[in-house]
Symmetry: C2
Subunit: 202 residues, 2 copies
DNA sequence: GTTTTGATGGTATGGTTGTACCACAAAAAC
DNA sequence: GTTTTTGTGGTACAACCATACCATCAAAAC
């Protein structure tokens, strides 16, 4: 059987098992054993490919952060809306609102990691610092474009407004996770706010 | 020594120890032992007053939710701004932004509990459902008042705007916890948004 | 003054967790 | 054909955790 295995593929497989395991019972209840079982392999193998649990957790976090980027990009492309600022912005923000089970699980783990990284020095910040900064700059750019085209209130501050939008979608997404709002309500609230920023002239 | 103790006081003392312990190393690393040590008593006593860890965690969560209400109320009163809608709304929202170490610890634990309650059925939602609903209604009421007085855009929807405001402050608060923003930046962004809702006429 | 009760300490127990260790087979290297 | 290397399984171990159990002692009740 020992047929010279592709390590990266194997690691990805194990990380996916971890994420699946975390989706069910929460990140805190992930153990070497639960991951091994979920991946259908022995605990020894998880050790073999990741050495320690800390490294495994870190690798999974990195992969998760990467996926977040892919998700946002995919969504933006899926709108087909080319370079329409409002369409792009809306796509980015809506990604934060979990709708189906899959996205709910994804955002739950992402949030659990974010909160955990505050107290766990081994998981210290990077992935959760760079991404939002990029996103905020991205939103600000498109808001500035829209403002130049006269699609928004000219007194609007693109940078501050980008921060507000990002915080709003994060807050709405969190509230959906906590079952304080339904996904539909959150989406409606986001649309309301976007409508105020991009007034429909008529 | 066994001098007929005030149970409620004792329980409060233990819960405070738990919160202090959680503030340092995160809620996930709270154990019966760490709580006992922090409270300066034996593990047996923690058992005696709370029976099981689950009940202890639940009691601490309830107390935490109660404190959140006190904090908001205290802040609103502290503004002295009587019934000025903008002052009241601003006070409520700013409470979500951690500034000093104390409020940071408080909000961190609160967030950890909120996230934990998603996956842990024993901690299921109540406290994290009722409070935000109340707050949202509270904000909507004051927004409606302000709108009637002509202090806001008349086309603004008080209920949706309340949802936006709450989500924004939650998102900003979270980003401060994650060290994505400084408290000052978050406060500035919040002020920016409030200035757009309450236009300074001149 | 005896008996009950409330409060406390100490310790044992059963389970779980991360990790280290030992063994082994199959392929690769030479 | 021998010798490394690589992948894999099983298991042992030390630490830790929540909780159950046993003992004690002072105050309260009577």
């Amino acid at each position: 059987m020992p047929k010279l295995v592709d390590h990266e593929e194997r690691r990805a497989h194990i990380i996916d098992a971890l994420l699946r395991s975390a989706a069910n019972d929460g990140l805190h209840s992930v153990t070497m054993r639960s991951v091994a079982t979920e991946a259908g392999i022995s605990v020894r193998l998880v050790q073999y490919y990741f050495d320690t649990k800390e490294k495994l957790l870190l690798a999974a976090m990195t992969r998760l952060a990467g996926r977040m980027g892919e998700r946002v990009q995919r969504r933006v492309r899926a709108t087909g809306a080319g370079t329409d600022p409002r369409g792009i912005i809306e796509a980015v923000l809506l990604e934060a609102v979990p709708t189906d089970d899959e996205s709910r699980a994804f955002h739950l783990i992402h949030t659990e990691y974010a909160v955990l990284s505050v107290t766990d020095p081994a998981l210290a910040g990077q992935p959760f610092l760079a991404a939002p900064n990029e996103m905020e700059a991205f939103l600000a750019t498109h808001l500035a474009t829209a403002r130049r085209s006269g699609d928004t209130d000219p007194t609007l501050d693109p940078h501050q407004e980008a921060a507000v939008l990002l915080a709003t979608s994060a807050g709405l997404g969190l509230s959906v996770l906590l079952d304080q709002r339904t996904p539909d309500q959150a989406t409606a609230t986001l649309h309301y706010h976007l409508n105020r920023i991009f007034p429909t002239r008529m």
